[in-house]
Symmetry: C2
Subunit: 525 residues, 2 copies
Amino acid sequence: MNLEGKQLIGADAVLATGRPIHAINPATGEQMEPAYPGGSNAEVERACELAWQAFDVYRETGLEQRAAFLESVADEIEAIGDDLIERAMAESGLPRARLEGERGRTCGQLRLFARVVRDGEWLDVRIDPALPERQPMPRVDLRQRHIGLGPVAVFGASNFPLAFSVAGGDTASALAAGCPVVIKAHSAHPGTSELVGRAVQRAVHKHELPEGVFSLLFGSGREVGQALVADPRIKAVGFTGSRAGGTALMKTAQNRPEPIPVYAEMSSINPVFLLPEALKARSAALGEAFIGSLTMGAGQFCTNPGLVIAIEGPELDAFVAAAGETVKGAAAQTMLTPGIFEAYESGVSGFSASDKATEVARGQRGEGPNQCQAGLFTAQAADFLADEALQAEIFGSTSLVVKCADLDEVKRVAEHLEGQLTATLQMDDADVDVARQLLPILERRAGRVMANGWPTGVEVCDAMVHGGPYPATSDSRTTSVGTAAIHRFLRPVCYQSLPQALLPEALRDGNPARVSRLVDGKREA
Amino acid sequence: MNLEGKQLIGADAVLATGRPIHAINPATGEQMEPAYPGGSNAEVERACELAWQAFDVYRETGLEQRAAFLESVADEIEAIGDDLIERAMAESGLPRARLEGERGRTCGQLRLFARVVRDGEWLDVRIDPALPERQPMPRVDLRQRHIGLGPVAVFGASNFPLAFSVAGGDTASALAAGCPVVIKAHSAHPGTSELVGRAVQRAVHKHELPEGVFSLLFGSGREVGQALVADPRIKAVGFTGSRAGGTALMKTAQNRPEPIPVYAEMSSINPVFLLPEALKARSAALGEAFIGSLTMGAGQFCTNPGLVIAIEGPELDAFVAAAGETVKGAAAQTMLTPGIFEAYESGVSGFSASDKATEVARGQRGEGPNQCQAGLFTAQAADFLADEALQAEIFGSTSLVVKCADLDEVKRVAEHLEGQLTATLQMDDADVDVARQLLPILERRAGRVMANGWPTGVEVCDAMVHGGPYPATSDSRTTSVGTAAIHRFLRPVCYQSLPQALLPEALRDGNPARVSRLVDGKREA
């Protein structure tokens, strides 16, 4: 594994001179080599200039060429081989199987976007031909397609060193949309980022694309990240991380002379509603399965179930008892970074110190640094509603069971929740009427509503919505996972009476690009 | 004509107690009756509460029911008859033919959105069926549709008292998307607003919809308007007006505890590029046609051509001479409001006083108040590039011809422009190579690029884009005119493993709503 600690700017690798970043192996606390000297305004400037120069050419690549490029990125990532997995394991503390799965997901989503690009539905072509004889006014020829917004700044996420980092979901959807990408690598996994970044560089070179299609910067979010979002050549932002980080980027983006969209995926506690009949039928099994979802990956998923809501009574007591027993047996797991571990400990301490939350059980204590000890607490609904601290996200394997007096209180709690990525109903057939009362509330509050599953596990497909009202995300109109994410980075352009020679291929007579088009109000496949 | 000067809140008509608004007939300067006492927080509160209560029911109306409601709004507007045209003429100074055409457009776009609603493509249904046998992990059942964002605040525009006011484009697209609407009427045409508002009220009643689907408020933008945008139950904003007004709303929306999208259509000077061969072939004809577009409706269109760009030389001189002659003969026209007239006069005075702009000609002086006297100026490209004042929009019939040394300077001017609604190429066949060099710049700068037409005149159809990069609008990802506008007010929701009984009709097995669906990656019509 040959890591150089350099910024990847277009086709170059450049040693910057800022404060060096070192990965820390969270399982051992050891600092890893090489150092990644942080970038400065000079590197941001150069990456944005190259991205801007690349934009007009890259956005007009043919569907086949762009799709093949995305597939090459996937091929190049796979070609890195086990070096990538080993470096990612060391930098993240995540186990091999998880990272192998995540690599599969990363390459799978690049190939899925290749299919989306080829298909061309994303162009949303609409043609209203001229009607020169129309009364009282003729209609001119009008044709619409979508083009990329421009260069996109993508921020790598700590909790998905592959699937939501350098060549992750935001990068794949932005590249699919025809937008050059400038990445700000997450400082927790610079080596993983360099390996993947060089894979993307090789794919850009192989397809003879302008070098500025991709650059990778290292450095602090407050300096390099903010400078990137403020750069006038950047036209959209993709971010997965904390609420504080996301809202800071939103502010910068909004205060630019030209404000730009920020797609920030931030905080979500992913409420699970245990409906009465389901609770009656299988309280213990639900309790055990719930803890399985809660402790998966040390709870470091955006969709981790941080909140359970149910009507109090012996069935809920049985659920809590079973969940508590399962928590007690839950092994400690290494968290991603010392900072995340500290924030987790601080969040759990807050629950422990609160006279409104009652500790049910804690998981196994770990040995060594940064070990996540699971936790389960309960609170009365009235206390939960009155105390904002109980409603905040604790990133990690701790959850709160909110006990409600009756269905009306369940609904009040549901209405009181902030925007969420997911909402889950545990229900039996006889719960349908209750579920029907909750559903409109949950649709308004969450991007994904599910029955009898657990929110962890996000399928990459056409129908997925990984999004939701603020503060789950900064923009509920989109998703960050799944093929619909391509629409985030597009805008419509209408061409009026342009000669055929000037029209983009997808809009020309005869449909040479063979894409779906809405012609005079009728869909032509 | 029975006007009461009341706020229309749900099914009620309420006399408010704030500072009264009177329409002013701009042709005479006379104050019109009745007074419209401005609303207060109490009216905003009540309208938003009713809208919020209506939302869950209204967003689940069937496609047919919602479409029929939109058609009834159109029918009810037509049923007002000539009273509407007469009041709108008196309040706006616009001529009868224009307002009759605008009424046709208003009702036409309501009926067009009814077609869009029935068709159901806007739901963007995606279904990924469960794959229980898939290795290494089964896939759960995932289904996506779109739902309304929530109640929408719409601000009536001064320059389209019908087509972009109470039941205009923003209202039609929001209602089509399943969002209740609370209007802040433009203070220039309260009587027109009341007439149309009562028509919408009647349609809501006829279709037995929850009364909160529609409310109409009168009052100042700074008070009622800002309070409306700040209300937590409002989830999106539609606005057409000044840059100062639009950016103020953007700021309020962004500073809410839950930020919301603002679709503000603001300022655009709509550059027209005269390419060399076209200029050579028909400079005089172009000059005359240009002034026709410039002076239409006293230049009070968002797409008014406020800027002409060309390479200097005898052909351009001939264009300017012909345009100047035509301007001299242009009759004065009544502007919409005293405020708009004052702003126009001030903008033209700025050009007159500038030592960088040269006056070519002025149009006829009007008699009576608020008369727009057309104007034509020229400037050198270098001066234009250096002077922000020359780049600002003058709302009305004044335009600036920018003289460039060569094609490179034309491109520099194009790259320098802010975001625009439109960009126009006047070109002949032999100009195609030049046009091809400009096109990528114009696509990045404008929502609509046209050849050999004039930007005024915006067709309401599937392919239209009336939008563009900031500051033409606050959000280049959408359009405010045409059927694609429905997407502004929608967000995706994914349903995972929900029982059929709980699924919305459009997502159920067998496709009972008969809408286009993407099933397992394949389009089912």
